[in-house]
């Protein structure tokens, strides 16, 4: 069962006088990701892998091609329809500190999806209980709940990002170099945590990295990207 299906996806950027220069960021990508599968995407910087990740979540608009999410063509959906779909698909960015609100304490950050009603109507005590559950699931403890992002390390912040994503309970995650700004020892911790959470919550993932060894650890299948084109290992 494909959760994600991509057909001949293209993204061109035009620039220069009279739009004469054309950069083919994604030049015809077709692939699918099964439910529960992790697809790894490897490539040098500037090859278009981040663009591809953002296209799948429609954070940017494709030039042409189709993207199916759960058998539904999402390329033509309006912003409003997309917004309703967004809780089912989430993204983990490279730099955890800049993806968290600097003025929100850990507890508020994790509680936000619940307060917004993404998981149905919940009482304050129910939310509190959920937050404690999640903070434990990502390997943090109660003392971190009152901290701001600048008071936590990069690895701890990335754990908060993961807890926040789990609060939304998505089906599909695009992880774009989630450990590129972390130390190797912390990287190992975060990647293990992601593998555990993935099997526990049955997540489907696109895992993007320039580090082939990391991708091999994380993925069921690996795609390579070079100059906007996707290729596969035999």
């Amino acid at each position: 069962m494909h959760l994600i299906e991509v057909m001949d996806l293209k993204k061109y950027y035009r620039s220069g006088l009279f739009n004469r220069q054309c950069t083919r960021a994604i030049d015809g990508a077709s692939f699918h990701i099964d439910r529960g599968e992790t697809l790894g995407l490897v490539g040098e910087s500037g090859c278009g892998k981040t663009t591809l990740g953002q296209l799948l979540l429609r954070l940017i608009e494709p030039t042409s091609g189709r993207i199916f999410f759960d058998s539904k063509d999402i390329t033509g959906l309006s912003r409003r329809e997309m917004r309703r779909l967004r809780p089912r698909m989430q993204m983990i960015f490279q730099d955890p500190e800049s993806s968290l609100d600097p003025r929100m304490r850990t507890a508020e950050s994790i509680a936000e999806p619940f307060r917004l009603g993404l998981r149905g109507r919940m009482s304050r005590s129910e939310i509190e209980e959920k937050v404690l559950e999640l903070i434990d699931a990502v390997g943090l403890n109660a003392e971190h709940l009152n901290r701001f992002p600048h008071q936590l390390s990069g690895g701890q912040n990335q754990r908060v990002v993961l807890a926040r994503i789990l609060a939304i309970k998505p089906e599909f995650i695009v992880a774009d170099e989630p450990t590129a700004s972390l130390d190797v020892s912390v990287q190992a911790q975060i990647l293990h945590l992601m593998m555990d959470l993935k099997s526990e919550f049955g997540l489907t993932m696109l895992f993007i990295s320039h580090d082939r060894e990391v991708v091999e650890h994380m993925s069921d299948r690996i795609a390579f990207m070079d100059n906007g084109r996707v290729s596969w290992e035999e």
């Binding site: 500037g46 912390v186 580090d211």
Partner: protein
């Protein structure tokens, strides 16, 4: 463990910062000798004090920092030089390749002019000569079309290109001793390999301290590796030994957390530098910690002429 010809001798160096929460002991009793033409890698996790150690050598720390100990360079203690004398050495005989080229380069000056400034100040060339020499430096750093690049601004260059500019600038004053702070940070695998090769080639007849958390990069670029944890050195050994036969449990953990060697995480997280653990600073995370490790602070023990380790279990 003393190399034959010592270029830089760091003796019991401490760099402590007073903060609202207490005294941050970023560098605590560090002793390290770097030989002539020797390249030493300084390895450690974020916040272990490795950049502070580098900054204290060229004395670029805040005036409120409490620095004690000695740093002997050619018979002189760098820590007792006047600011005037230090300014003369800094960028010239002792230079730094700063981390993060995007923020370290001046965005409103052309690349060539930024490098020429170093050459004019430290090598006494006039403006025209310095400019020509800057182009030479860019060429030596393997930047294609150096003449054209010298006339460009930092934002016109890619990340790997900017790192090459930083290296060219760091070496423009023809230093005897170079400190390279995270020169491979944020680069992809291919560019990283090129930069390491460039650093190795361009520092062949110089001494270098390369600060990095990338153990593979240090292994390729350096002769010896010093492992830093919570403000102190835990192990110093030849680069190959560190990678293939690490002695300290922390180094072992660090090596096996590499993706190529199993991706096994070290449990726990780095301790606070304000109130580091009693006894061995690594004991709360150490899989082999014994009673003595919790009670007593292990001394640095020499293991032959170029290796030493700070661990009760390694003797």
């Amino acid at each position: 463990m003393a190399p034959l010809d010592v270029m830089l001798d760091i003796i019991s160096l401490r760099a402590h910062f007073p903060t609202q929460d207490g005294l941050v002991k970023a560098v605590d009793e560090v002793s390290l000798q770097i030989g002539k033409n020797e390249r030493v890698g300084l390895i450690g996790e974020t916040g272990c004090g490795k950049t502070v150690l580098g900054m204290s050598i060229i004395r670029l720390l805040l005036p409120t920092t409490r620095i004690t100990g000695r740093i002997i360079y050619q018979g002189r203690d760098l820590l007792s030089l006047s600011e005037e004398e230090m300014r003369h050495l800094r960028g010239g005989e002792i230079a730094m390749i700063f981390q993060n080229p995007t923020t370290s380069l001046n965005p409103v000056l052309k690349i060539g002019d930024q490098i020429a400034e170093v050459i004019r100040l430290h090598r006494g060339l006039d403006k025209e000569e310095a400019k020509a020499e800057a182009v030479q430096m860019l060429d030596a750093a393997m930047i294609p079309e150096p003449l054209k690049r010298a006339d460009q601004y930092p934002h016109e260059l890619s990340g790997g290109m900017k790192e090459r500019v930083m290296i060219a600038m760091g070496l423009a004053g023809q230093p005897f001793f170079v400190i390279a702070d995270e020169p491979t940070k944020g680069l992809d695998a291919l560019t990283k390999a090129e930069i390491i090769k460039l650093i190795r080639d361009m520092t062949a007849d110089r001494s270098m301290l390369m600060i990095t958390h990338d153990l593979n990069a240090a292994g390729e670029a350096c002769n010896r590796i010093a492992v830093m944890y919570a403000g102190e050195l835990l192990e110093v050994a030849p680069a190959q030994t560190i990678l293939s036969d690490p002695g300290h449990p922390y180094t072992q953990g660090f090596v096996s957390s590499l993706p190529s060697l199993g991706l096994h995480p070290i449990p726990g997280s780095s301790p606070s530098l304000i109130d580091p653990p009693k006894g061995c600073r690594f004991h709360p995370r150490c899989p082999r910690a014994k009673d003595i490790c919790k009670r007593e602070h292990p001394p640095m023990i020499s293991l032959g002429k170029d290796a030493c380790v700070r661990c009760f279990l390694c003797t």
